[in-house]
């Protein structure tokens, strides 16, 4: 159940209804495919039917002869322009259009530009491509076999190995395991799934041949980073590139990187001299844009016989597909996976991650993963449950006993992270109380006696969001700081320009609330501008729940800069020293004389007037700020899931889901709750139904919503939320990110609940009726490749 916003607009933090709703509810949003430019052409992509095949020939003559076709672009065209390959976010290269061979089914082979979208599709059938099929590498666990076909011969590789990466202290971890009383281990697959935003990816490129300016409207979560990449790839200077992200119909990490279709649209516009629109369909989105997860993990957990956790050790095989284009900070090929010690006070921990190429679509980091923290949390929260089951311990009690204690913060983990704050026992206790945990266990015992399958699953997670300190984190060499610009107009209304980019998270409302909190200007009087690189300061965009931690901090800091300018103006107005003024509720007043005051609107007008200001004070009321975060923020949460399983069919029904999240200060509680609800539905989806599977030839088996199943309103319960508030001490307003918490924290709770219900120690997601039923027979399926 939800709490609803108050009718009045708060002057700062608090539930308020969203400013963006007015246009969306009337069908007046402006998404990519809504945009029509004069003379605009439409494009479609011819894709590979093979997972791995040499390209013998491409014949485009019939397509070019189609009366409505304007251009057909192939890998050969791009080779001539030096654009057949593009750099990725992980220092690999990716084929824009295949030249030598195709490396996954659905890979881009040719790009048709035509007068309308139907004609562009028609012409795809007129292109003749001759392929020489090659054996495909489908099973990641076989990718490094000596006889495995080599996928990346373009890199002159002799195997499919991408990287080895380690974190933690291996020797100390081995020592802990050698002296432990009990050790539990298990294999865990976090299957390949897909963010599947309701709006697919697309781009409209418009190259003005006269001015030489390129305008790109595109579904991007990181418009400034895209502009820089276009500049580097296409050789067009940045001041001649304008990237505009319009309204985005959900991103979920799917819209961080640059896809071949975007580059082709630019080339298409250069070649034709007209704007070119490319919008993919759902199948293309599922087959060729960033997947998520695909981690094969072998985890071990060590403990004393009285239930004190000591250490965790994990080996990971990461399936990155045919090109390594994983979105990640440059120095972290496995993202932030090394937060896998979770919420527990461990003596030692170590991970070794190996990345491999397979004949599949690239990706990996997406779908609200916070750079692989979904995988990290799944690992530790499954391991704790496996250990509890092996030892006959209550999984909630085992967690409670080992949580990092409040007095240990800031807490340095065995893997080197410095958690900022938390009161984990309070958060877990609140969730257990809200769920009625003890009563649930009693009910479960009664139902079991009647032959019913009821399961209770618990997870407790610590997130790490707000990437990040530029000393440690960059993307393609671009440090992960974000900018904010605030301008207060003469009449006291304001415009705030940001480098982050909302995809539905409500930034237009919440960032106005931050300014309102700092300056006392109504959120309704503050326009938030995002997405247009000509209009906004540089920064790295919205993903990894980094908007509130980084851009939110930048917003508070820029508002404070404006407030200090306002203080000086007010001191001139009131003829007192700046230090004699106090600020409260949108006005400065003289200390000890509340009547002698100036409101922000009065100050704004005075700042633009002929009022004499002290030497060196420029007047007007604006400021810019770049925020380089000193640390990440570490929100946490305790989740309890209750499921009923049909013993005859293996069908799982989620009866209840209790989620207590702590993201520090809540700017807009209504919006926070909405974020959590969406993430909980993701958890239901991943745990119970979503998977991108492949057959032995590399055929994609989840390439439409007929097979890639998303939860509907019927699979989701009415969520039961609770909160604790432990502010981030280093953040200007004490707020932590939260957008991805529920997606990170909920899958292990659902899986723990289902396995608790059916009395099975481990089985991989998605726990479909078939998977559950076979697990109950002791024969779980392998879910990443088709098992027949």
């Amino acid at each position: 159940m939800t709490t609803h916003a108050a009718d009045t607009t708060p002057m700062g933090f608090g539930s308020m209804r969203r400013k963006e709703d007015a246009r969306f509810l009337r069908g007046k949003g402006r998404y990519l495919d809504d945009i029509v430019l004069p003379g605009m052409l439409h494009a479609a992509i011819l894709r590979s039917p093979h997972a791995h095949a040499r390209i013998v020939s491409v014949d485009t003559s019939a397509a070019e002869a189609h009366p409505k076709v304007t251009a057909v672009i192939t890998g050969e065209t791009l080779t001539g322009l030096g654009l057949a390959w593009m750099p990725t976010l992980s220092h690999d290269v990716q084929a824009v259009l295949a030249t030598d061979k195709v490396r996954f089914q659905g890979q881009e082979v040719a790009f048709v530009v035509a007068e309308d979208r139907y004609a562009a599709r028609d012409a795809l059938a007129l292109i003749e491509v001759e392929y020489e099929p090659l054996p495909a590498v489908v099973d990641a666990t076989r990718a490094l076999d000596p006889d495995a076909p080599v996928i990346r011969d373009d890199l002159h590789k002799t195997d499919n190995h991408i990287f080895d990466w380690e974190a933690g202290d291996a020797a100390a971890t081995d020592e802990v395991f050698a002296t432990a009383d009990v050790v539990a281990e298990c294999d865990l697959l976090y299957p390949r799934c897909h963010p599947a935003p309701m709006e697919t990816c697309g781009s409209i490129a418009s190259m003005d041949p006269v001015s030489g300016k390129l305008t790109v409207y595109t579904t991007t979560q990181a418009p400034h980073a895209h502009r820089t990449v276009y500049a580097l790839v296409a050789g067009i200077p940045e001041h001649k590139i304008q990237v505009i992200a319009p309204d985005i119909g959900g991103g979920f990490g799917n819209k961080v990187g640059i896809y071949p279709g975007y580059v082709c649209a630019v080339v298409g516009s250069i070649v034709t001299g007209r704007p070119v629109k490319w919008v993919e369909d759902r199948s293309e989105n599922l087959m060729s844009t960033s997947f998520a997860r695909d981690y094969h993990m072998h985890g071990e957990i060590a403990a004393t016989k009285d239930g004190t956790l000591l250490g965790v050790r994990v080996k990971v095989l990461a399936d990155h597909g045919a090109f390594n284009n994983t979105a990640q900070p440059s120095k972290m090929p496995a993202g932030l996976f090394h937060v896998f010690s979770g919420s527990y006070d461990l003596k030692a921990a170590h991970c070794a991650v190996t990345g491999v190429y397979t004949d599949k679509c690239p990706g990996g980091v997406a779908y609200a993963c916070s750079f692989r923290i979904t995988e990290a949390v799944y690992l530790i929260e499954r391991l704790v449950d496996v250990l509890a089951r092996d030892q006959g311990w209550d999984p909630a009690e085992l967690r409670m006993r080992n949580l990092v204690r409040p007095e240990q913060f800031p807490y340095r983990t065995a893997l080197g992270w410095e958690y900022d704050s938390g009161n984990y026992p309070q958060t877990l206790r609140k969730a257990l109380d809200l769920a009625g945990y003890a009563e649930l266990r009693r009910e479960q015992a009664e139902r079991r006696a009647r032959g019913e399958l009821m399961g209770i699953g618990v997870s407790f997670f610590t997130e790490a969001v707000g990437a990040g300190p530029r000393k440690h984190m960059d993307i393609l060499g671009l440090g992960m700081a974000d900018g904010a610009e605030l301008r207060v107009h003469p009449t006291g209304k304001a415009v705030l320009r940001l480098s982050c980019m909302t995809q539905g998270q409500g930034h237009q409302t919440t960032f106005a609330q931050i300014v309102a909190e700092e300056l006392g200007i109504s959120p309704d009087d503050i326009e938030v501008v995002q997405g247009d690189t000509d209009q906004t300061p540089f920064g790295l965009g919205t993903y990894g729940s980094r908007s509130t931690p980084v851009s939110g901090a930048a917003t508070a800091m820029v508002a404070r800069k404006v407030r200090e300018r306002a203080r000086i103006v007010a001191s001139a107005m009131l003829e007192v020293a700046p230090s004699d003024l106090e600020f409260a509720k949108g006005r400065f007043h003289v200390k000890g004389d509340p009547a002698a005051s100036a409101t922000m609107a009065e100050i704004a007008m005075a700042a633009h007037s002929d009022l004499e200001l002290p030497e060196g004070v420029e007047g007007h009321l604006d400021a810019t700020c770049v925020y380089n975060p000193p640390n990440l923020t570490y929100p946490c949460g305790a989740y309890v899931c209750v499921v009923d399983v049909d013993p005859g069919t293996g069908q799982v029904a989620v009866r209840r889901f209790v989620a207590v999240d702590d993201c520090g200060v809540r700017i807009n509680p209504m919006i926070v709750e909405g974020q959590i609800h969406g993430g909980l539905a993701d958890g239901i989806g991943m745990a119970l139904m979503e998977v991108l599977a492949f057959d032995a030839d590399g055929n994609h088996l989840g390439a439409s919503f007929m097979d890639y199943l998303l939860p509907t309103a019927l699979e989701c319960p009415s969520w039961e939320l609770g909160e604790t508030v432990t502010p981030s001490p280093h953040h200007p307003i004490g707020a932590k990110g939260v957008g991805e918490s529920a997606t990170v924290g909920s899958p292990p709770a659902v899986v723990n609940a289902v396995l608790d219900a059916i009395g099975v120690r481990d089985a991989d997601m998605p726990l479909t009726p078939a998977q559950v039923w076979r697990s109950m027979q002791g024969r779980p399926l392998r879910t990443d490749v088709a098992v027949t």
Binding site: G29, E673, T712, S718
Partner: protein, 191 residues
């Protein structure tokens, strides 16, 4: 490619012209009529982002040929807010935070409007079943359920939806339904 001359009423406005026989209704609405509130979210008729009302019933407009709507009356999300005021369903979504990215919203609002025309006071299960054909990736559905419940308690499907149904000469589903007021009646289209 064969072409057909069609006459399709959308939100009370008649449009006549020649279209390709294979043109999908969703593309007709978006590209021929410029009504881009109706969205495309899939290619297998699962997501419901393209839901509109066609002659009084909700349909997924990606699965209807525009020529099949010749002579028909279509109501889209743009037609719900008469005189700029949100319909009860739209207002419910705003009040209860039933939308985030807004992409499923027009289809979801139309599905909910259709549901409330059939069932004025649906319970939670009936609401969830009523929007089962509409996928949402942002909200986790709970606040959408609240939104529909809010609408049911505050005016139901709304004036434009009732006018859309009545405009076709169908009997009023409920004599107590609010009569259209202050706006032009929709032109009657011969089915």
């Amino acid at each position: 490619m064969s072409h057909h001359k069609v006459r399709i009423t959308v939100n009370g406005t008649v449009g006549e012209g020649e279209i390709e026989s294979r043109l999908l209704l969703v593309h007709y609405l978006r590209e021929t009529r410029g009504l881009t509130g109706t969205h495309v979210g899939c290619d297998t008729s699962n997501c419901g982002a393209c839901t509109v009302m066609l002659d009084g019933r909700t349909v997924k407009s990606c699965t209807v040929l525009a020529v099949a709507a010749d002579g028909a009356d279509v109501l889209t999300v743009e037609g719900l807010a008469g005189g700029g005021e949100l319909s009860p369903v739209q207002e419910g979504f705003r009040q209860c935070h039933g939308l985030q990215c807004g992409y499923c919203t027009p289809g979801m609002v139309m599905a909910a409007t259709g549901l409330l025309l059939e069932n004025e006071a649906p319970d939670e299960t009936e609401i969830r079943e009523g929007i089962e054909g509409n996928l949402c990736r942002c909200t986790g559905y709970d606040m959408i359920v609240d939104s529909v419940r809010w609408a049911a308690a505050n005016g139901g499907a709304g004036e434009a939806a009732h006018r859309h149904v009545h405009g076709r000469g169908a009997p009023a589903p409920d004599a107590a339904a609010p009569a259209p007021s202050g706006t032009q009646p929709a032109p009657v289209v011969t089915p």
